[in-house]
Amino acid sequence: MNPFEYAPALESTSIVTIAERYKLFINGKFVAPRSGKYFPTINPATGKTLSQIAEANAADVDLAVKAAREAYAKVWSKLSASERGKYLFRIARILQERAREFAVLETLDNGKPIRESRDTDIPLVAAHFFYHAGWADKLNFAGVGEQPKPYGVVGQIIPWNFPMLMLAWKVAPALATGNTVVLKPAETTSLTALLFAEVCQQAGLPAGVVNIVTGAGATGATLVNHPGIDKIAFTGSTDVGKLIATAIAGTKKSATLELGGKAANIIYDDAAIDEAVEGIVNGIFFNQGHVCCAGSRLLVQENIADEVLEKLKVRMSHIRLGNPLDKNTDIGAINSAAQLAKIRELSAAGEAEGAERWSPPCELPTDGFWFAPTIFTGVSQTHRIAREEIFGPVLSVLTFRTPQEAIEKANNTPYGLSAGIWSEKGSKILWTASKLRAGVIWANTFNKFDPASPFGGYKESGWGREGGRHGLAAYLKAGK
């Protein structure tokens, strides 16, 4: 029994007001869905319903796309670039002012720890708007020629793992480059996007520049197939990404796709071991492992594997799983019953295929969706848990003998989103990075994000880049 058991330190939820039901945000106003249908959104940490969300059907999506088209043609494309930038600056400042509200709401709807929504997600959201606000009147320097042109109306579909952050990654560059937007948040995490709609009103953003249609896959498919859409920006699973690519083939629509990953986190024997262990934890247990760029495959040099695993287990015994609103929680709730089932299924497959499963002693709450932080040792390249994206707090541990073998194993995947390298030898880091087929490579750190840094994948991890100068190109047609 630890005498220093931290008492509950709950973040107050009094700052947020959740309505009984939410309508669609079209042409600057909240409007009831033509479908007449609503679906519940729940708090995954308790299983309780938070609110009812409108389900947009084809008629609703059509209204939203038309509003975006009209706003593009009549208002947004006529505005000077610096005026566009001012709106983005205004939104960024409001997001900072209302940061706590957004953080609490994100944690309630998504299940992620308040420490992460407060210290990572929402500060990055504001940073993305500030960064892109600065670009609005400097697009001649975006690297796509003089006076590049926006696409027009962009359909954006975002996932549930970082609801507000993914919204920012999508909306900020689209608006900065002069496009208008129809955004569909994930069906399990619509609330912060709808609060963002209020921010758009508060900032006086012209009606129709941002439209938000809520719903599940069918709503997304309708948006993708709508003829009034000029470009699709999607973040989500590789399976859905392939469907979108198929759907838009032969049309004039262009697309950026941010898809799955199965990142290798490579620990060389000359690494700073304690910090590497910290990086392993951050790589796979950040946001319950619901991270497309998570370091889900640990590749550790065989001669230090025992030491690293021993330290990792000690470190994992200090991870605090529980109420996401507790400021001391490190791992919150799994976002949905469906995701929990998928994590359980793949973990069971890992055991069945002969890998050894380990979790620290960890009491799971009874209500809601929970999964203890888990590592699998003795994993081979052929195991499903070494190949398929689990998207949960589950780490597969593999070993390697030489740097060449590390590279071969790291690249032996259909994905190529991110990778980590841990070594105190700079030349080895550079050599390794040049050989890895991954869009984002972290050295002696993991899961670091910055609006100035492009993010995106190789192979089945996606098309295009988001963030930085490279991310602007995804929303601009080449100029002269």
Binding site: F4, E5, A7, E275, V314, N444
Partner: protein
């Protein structure tokens, strides 16, 4: 763990220690600083921190009167509330040890050890004969804990054997009579790699405690430095099954800082270290803030500093 205490085998051993990535340590320390310690856990932390304070006066202007005063405070930190625990030790220069010892004995503080700084504190720049005499004076006057400084000059020039031998010899002088705390003066070692190396050097040479600083050099007990030292005692325990204590000193002035230190102990070394036998905080001003926070927990409002005694 090492073949012998020769310069070359010490150097070889220290080379086998993993390097420290400073960016990573800073990030980990910053994350642990966000731990929110409330209500019952805060009450426990405040009392535990009080019992870990090495109540210190190390001034040229120290007098018998000043030393007697801090001894009284050490035994009963809050005269109006006898539920407040006594501090961990009283820490003074060696010429004040006998005054501290006899005062504590007279006022019911027999159980409180007197710690003496020694070995030409704070610089450590003297012959070994002087350092040895310094140590013996303190022990003979009744010091039960010796806070020695390492020879940072020797360490920085790579003469690890010299640093090691000096600690070994002082440890011999301490014998069974006194615990040995080895001050690394991390503000002069500068890098976290050096902090890790010096921690191991001190532990291998027989330190009972490793201590960050003299309090005369800034920066002193920063969270990243303490974190690296806590990792060192944790890993040393893994190798030897011997638990070495840690004492941050210098710069820990308020309750918030002290609680952050306890969080580091809890989550890096482990809860086994959450005892005055294995963790001390060298401080003078800290005690009063702990008392004020304790009153606040009890009464529900912040009292004026006038309600706690100066020393």
């Amino acid at each position: 763990m090492i073949i012998d205490s020769s310069e070359s085998s010490l150097k070889a051993f220290l080379q086998t220690l993993p390097r420290v990535d400073e960016v990573g340590v800073n990030a980990r320390a910053a994350m642990l600083a966000t731990r929110s310690i409330k209500t019952s856990s805060k009450e426990w932390a405040i009392d535990t921190a009080i019992s870990m304070v090495d109540l210190t006066t190390l001034e040229g202007a120290d007098t018998p009167g000043k030393v007697r005063a801090i001894c009284a405070k050490a035994v009963r930190p809050d005269a109006t509330d006898l539920s407040v625990p006594s501090v961990g030790a009283v820490c003074v220069y060696n010429d004040m040890v006998h005054i501290a010892r006899s005062t504590l004995d007279q006022i019911g503080g027999k159980a409180i050890p007197v710690a003496a700084v020694a070995t030409a504190f704070p610089s450590g720049r003297a012959s070994f004969a002087v350092k040895a005499q310094d140590t013996m004076d303190a022990i003979n006057a009744g010091a039960a804990e010796i806070d020695m400084v390492i020879d940072r000059g020797a360490f920085l020039s790579g003469r690890y054997g010299e640093v090691f031998d000096e600690i070994v010899k002082i440890k011999e002088l301490c014998g069974e009579k006194a615990h040995l705390k080895v001050i690394l003066e991390t503000g002069e070692l500068v890098t976290l790699d050096n902090v890790r190396k010096a921690s191991y050097l001190a532990m291998l040479a027989g330190a009972d405690f490793i201590k960050t600083s003299t309090g005369k050099v800034s920066p002193a007990a920063t969270a990243p430095v303490v974190l690296v030292m806590l990792e060192a005692v944790r890993d040393y325990f893994g190798m030897t099954k011997v638990r070495i204590g840690v004492k941050p000193a210098g710069g820990i002035r308020n309750t918030k800082d002290a609680i952050k230190q306890l969080v580091l102990v809890n989550e890096v070394a482990g809860p086994e270290w959450l005892t005055p036998q294995l963790f001390r905080i060298g401080a003078s001003a800290l005690l009063n803030d702990l008392l004020l926070q304790r009153m606040k927990m009890r009464d529900g409002y912040y009292a004026s500093p006038s309600y706690v005694t100066l020393d």
